[in-house]
């Protein structure tokens, strides 16, 4: 990883945490106050060749930072570590027959919309299911939980796809 890529990743980490906690955490959708999660874009966008253990550690610190600011100690950390663990297997499963092109990134521009949607929807859904299950611990009923996961994932996906056509075009 060159210095340039490293610096860009650190910057993206900080910016996504700030945007999440100070903007998106204040957006409450539906009567259940579902919050869109955009910070997991960080895990989604990490380069293919990032060592897996680094992805795990980064995901933990990312989730933990979000937790500190939103008083949900451990919730986001646990969910982020889970998707970081699943990510390599998912990438393998979705890989084209010839493998990922060297120098390409997990983005719509390089991999196409179809690939990107499959990839990011899986991660967002797993993250949200884990988050709301852990948060409620049986506090919510099943249908409310499902509804929250659905709305949160839908809005987050819309934002993530928009980011692909605006900020992360290349």
């Amino acid at each position: 990883m060159s210095i340039n890529v490293l610096a860009r990743n650190i910057g993206r980490f900080l910016i996504l945490v700030l945007i999440q906690v100070f903007i998106f955490n204040n957006i409450h959708l539906t009567s259940y106050g579902v919050v869109p999660v955009v910070y997991i874009l960080y895990i989604i966008l990490l380069p293919f060749e990032t060592p897996k253990w680094i992805v795990l550690l980064l995901a933990f610190f990312l989730g933990f930072s979000i937790d500190i600011f939103s008083d949900t100690l451990g919730l986001n950390a646990a969910s982020s570590v889970l998707i970081a663990f699943i990510r390599p297997g998912l990438l393998n499963y979705l890989a084209p027959r010839t493998g990922y092109e060297i120098g390409s990134f997990p983005r719509i521009y390089y991999q196409g919309a179809n690939w990107f949607l499959k990839y990011s929807i899986s991660l967002v859904l797993i993250h949200q299911v884990s988050y709301y299950l852990l948060e409620s611990f049986g506090f919510d009923n099943f249908w409310v939980l499902l509804y929250k996961v659905f709305i949160a994932s839908l809005i987050s996906m819309i934002l993530i796809v928009i980011s692909q056509y605006t900020i992360f075009r290349k």
Partner: protein, 276 residues
């Protein structure tokens, strides 16, 4: 030993994953209100600073509404003052003041608030430097809001009434029967009052106020009104739905109550519990 190292190398990802998950989930499970660390909360100085900045902008949008609320509160307080002045003229003794002298009040502004989670917390812009301590009670214009659980230099973290791990001693205003109030519904407008025996006569619309049994809140601070109730046959207690009087959705100004005699009270209680 060699095989152990080989196993660790081979499964290092799974091991790392499990360690991180165990750390995270144990944080979720062991997130006790008593052991809350202020550094790991939204009341830390970085978070507090940014939240305060954002909130000062957002506050402009609700200024008119806030003014209205404060004007109404002023009016109510003025009326009470009149009544009390009349009372004190008529009576020689002023013993009724003793209870209120025990408590001192501080005003604060809410800089971060959540109402939709299972564990909700509020951050206020006053901290250690302003004399706020852990276990101070927090009330709004309309009633109880929560209790301070952690303080940093300039901010404090308040556990909201809307937190499934928080319970509050409450009583029915008319009959003085008391019970415990919990947040069980995941709806920011309602809480549940339990442990009121079902021989007590209650009706919809009765006021629920603080009992004053804890050293946190003075007695008689409004919590809400009875919306509905059921009798639980198995344990002879009511299950009462309480409509909260505080509108947590538009909380902005709050008052922090410090019981100046808390230390003395706790000392007394502890000395008794140590002896028996």
């Amino acid at each position: 030993m060699k095989t152990l190292i080989n196993v660790i190398i081979r499964f290092h990802l799974v091991i790392l994953f499990l360690i991180l998950e165990i750390i995270s989930i144990s944080m979720v499970v062991s997130d006790d209100l008593e052991k809350k660390k202020v550094v790991f909360s939204s009341a830390n100085s970085i978070s507090g600073y940014f939240n305060k900045k954002i909130n000062t902008w957002l506050a402009y949008f609700t200024l008119a509404q806030e003014n209205e609320v404060l004007r109404n509160e002023n009016l109510a307080l003025r009326n009470r003052l009149n009544k009390l002045q009349a009372l004190s003229k008529n009576s020689e003794r002023d013993t009724f003041l003793i209870d209120s002298v025990k408590y001192s009040y501080l005003s604060a502004t809410v800089v971060n608030n959540s109402i939709y989670k299972a564990q909700n917390f509020i951050t206020i812009d006053k901290g250690k430097a302003d004399g706020i301590k852990i276990d101070c009670g927090v009330i709004g214009t309309d009633g109880v809001v929560g209790v301070v659980v952690a303080v940093s230099e300039h901010y404090a973290l308040v556990v909201s009434l809307l937190n499934s791990r928080f319970g509050l001693s409450a009583k029915i205003k008319n009959s003085n029967h008391f019970g415990s109030l919990y947040w069980t519904k995941n709806d920011y407008r309602y809480a549940t009052l339990e442990e009121v025996p079902n021989h007590v006569k209650i009706s919809k619309g009765d006021s629920i106020v603080t009992s004053g049994f804890s050293a946190i809140f003075p007695a008689g601070i409004p919590i809400g009104t009875i919306e509905d109730f059921r009798t639980n046959v198995s344990n002879n207690f009511y299950e009462i739905d309480v409509k909260l009087s505080t509108d947590f959705k538009s909380l902005y100004y709050v008052y922090v109550i410090d019981n100046t005699m808390r230390d003395e009270l706790l000392l007394l209680e502890n000395s008794v519990s140590n002896e028996y």
